[in-house]
Symmetry: C2
Subunit: 302 residues, 2 copies
């Protein structure tokens, strides 16, 4: 634990479906960052160690380097399947050590969470939740984690009580890149159009599939701009999500944990409903959660 001879004293890893990210850490401080597109989807089980080494090799020394990983590394198609823990429970617990060929690595993968009814799962977001709670241990309330699969998480007494996942981000990506709307959407933003589209599906969520096609029709008939089409698509999808997540946010304080741009859209959407939302950076939260997991392991070992 001297940390003097090596570049860092542990490595934090967030292994996503399409991206692998690693941070060289000294205690809770990040000293370097590396990423690659070696997400779970691009790897066989036998390739995870090499993909990790490719990123972190320059950070390794003579002794086994502790690596704490969350996310899809623990999925069924991941490096080693780490069983989900069942809510209600604390967000962290039960990391699994993974054998490696390279003796310079000492890898632990954290489990995700599952909920039996309604059936739901998360891998990675629980670590962001833990990171947030490590800085606000008494927090009771709602966390919103927008992304490919947005999560709404109810926290009470340090536990994840319940959560719900929405495919909003993945639908946005599929529809804007692969559907007929790819001819309509483009770069740019229109805040007024976003707000109106948000209100449309919040009040009439059943209209989503029709409103989506209307984006194409508005382009053809009324020259809707690509920026406005982009904001409209985002507003329609987030509005439909908010309509379904209403029990999570109505009359509550919400913390949005996400990438800056997307988190700001959700915060704006909540603000338009009169709901105060504060923001937390997803990367900082996942590192804080991985640090909390590492500390818990060291305390247990001491």
């Amino acid at each position: 634990m001297t940390g003097s001879a090596t570049y860092c004293d542990w490595v934090a890893v967030d292994w996503g479906t399409s991206t692998l990210r690693a941070w060289a850490m000294r205690g809770a401080e990040m000293v370097a960052e590396a990423r690659s597109d070696s997400g779970m989807n691009s790897l066989d089980k036998s390739q995870f160690e090499a993909a990790l080494l490719k990123l972190v090799d320059p950070w390794l020394g003579g002794r086994p380097m502790p690596v704490v990983a969350c996310g899809m590394a623990g999925a069924r198609q991941g490096w080693t399947e780490v069983p989900y823990r069942t809510v209600p429970c604390m967000p962290l617990g039960g990391g699994v050590a993974v054998p490696t060929s390279d003796t310079r690595l000492s890898v632990t993968i954290l489990p995700g969470l599952k909920q039996d009814n309604p059936a739901d799962v998360m891998r990675g977001e629980e670590t962001q939740v833990a990171g947030y709670l490590s800085g606000r241990p008494g927090f009771d309330g709602v966390l919103c984690l927008p992304g490919t699969h947005s999560k709404w998480v109810e926290i009470s007494a340090g536990e994840v009580v319940s959560f719900r996942t929405f495919m909003t981000g993945e639908l946005f990506d599929l529809v804007s890149r692969h559907s007929v709307l790819r001819h309509s959407t483009g770069a740019g933003w229109d805040a007024a159009v976003f707000a109106e589209a948000l209100g449309d599906t919040l009040s009439r969520p059943e209209s989503l599939a029709a409103k989506l096609f209307a984006i194409r029709a508005e382009t053809l008939l009324h020259d809707l701009s690509p920026a406005a089409a982009n904001a409209m698509l985002s507003g329609l999808l987030i509005g439909a999500e908010l309509a379904a997540a209403r029990p999570y946010w109505l009359g509550r304080d919400v913390v949005v944990i996400g990438a800056e741009l997307l988190a700001a859209r959700y915060a704006k959407a909540l603000e338009l409903q009169g709901v105060p939302a504060s923001l937390a950076d997803a990367d900082a939260m996942v590192r804080a959660g991985l640090a909390a997991a590492r500390n818990a392991t060291r305390e247990a070992a001491a």
Copy 2:
């Protein structure tokens, strides 16, 4: 008009986004069918004539063969842009002659329909509507045309009064083939699961994005079968469409015009809501509509 020397006396064409279909016709009777994947999306403007010739060349004779086409051949990115007609109006009218290099062709493209508010468009379905009305000239009621972009059409006094498009089929295709649900869905069907999923989004349409992800979670946690996942996805999407299209079908008789399997799903979905639905074959309707357009042109010329 003797029809004795050539294989057929006219050619009916339905030019879709991804498929081109042509039928050799004697009057209202089909004598041959041909198709290719030369849909609008795969062609530049200059390539349409060659794509058509490749299919219909064996049917041509010495004199110009009348070809009547509907669909995306008349779109902005099609062979020649044919302006939309505005509802309320009769489903057919105003075909445009397209010059060809090959003198054995005499091509007419039919216009689509547009609606200003809510903005909406169709190209091709208006011809199916006309085909249906040619067999039931006094029909007043609702036509449902499921497909990539499902249409609900209100008919009164022989006119299309209003219509609404839903991206249901395209969403099904994108989600089942390209989203995380591609690991869950597979071939097969489960009628009970379809009915339950349909009811879920019909009564709570806002839950769609969460219910979609729940398919993945049910696979991971409760071993949902690929067939059940397929039926669940279909039920959720059609249920959401029915929720939004309720003003079209509630308390009405509905005729579903579509491909056999898909039309049967919609008819079943309507029947579960206590709505009687009859079925008509989409291919037969489009040929009948193209025949009606050809007859109208000949009568006008006579």
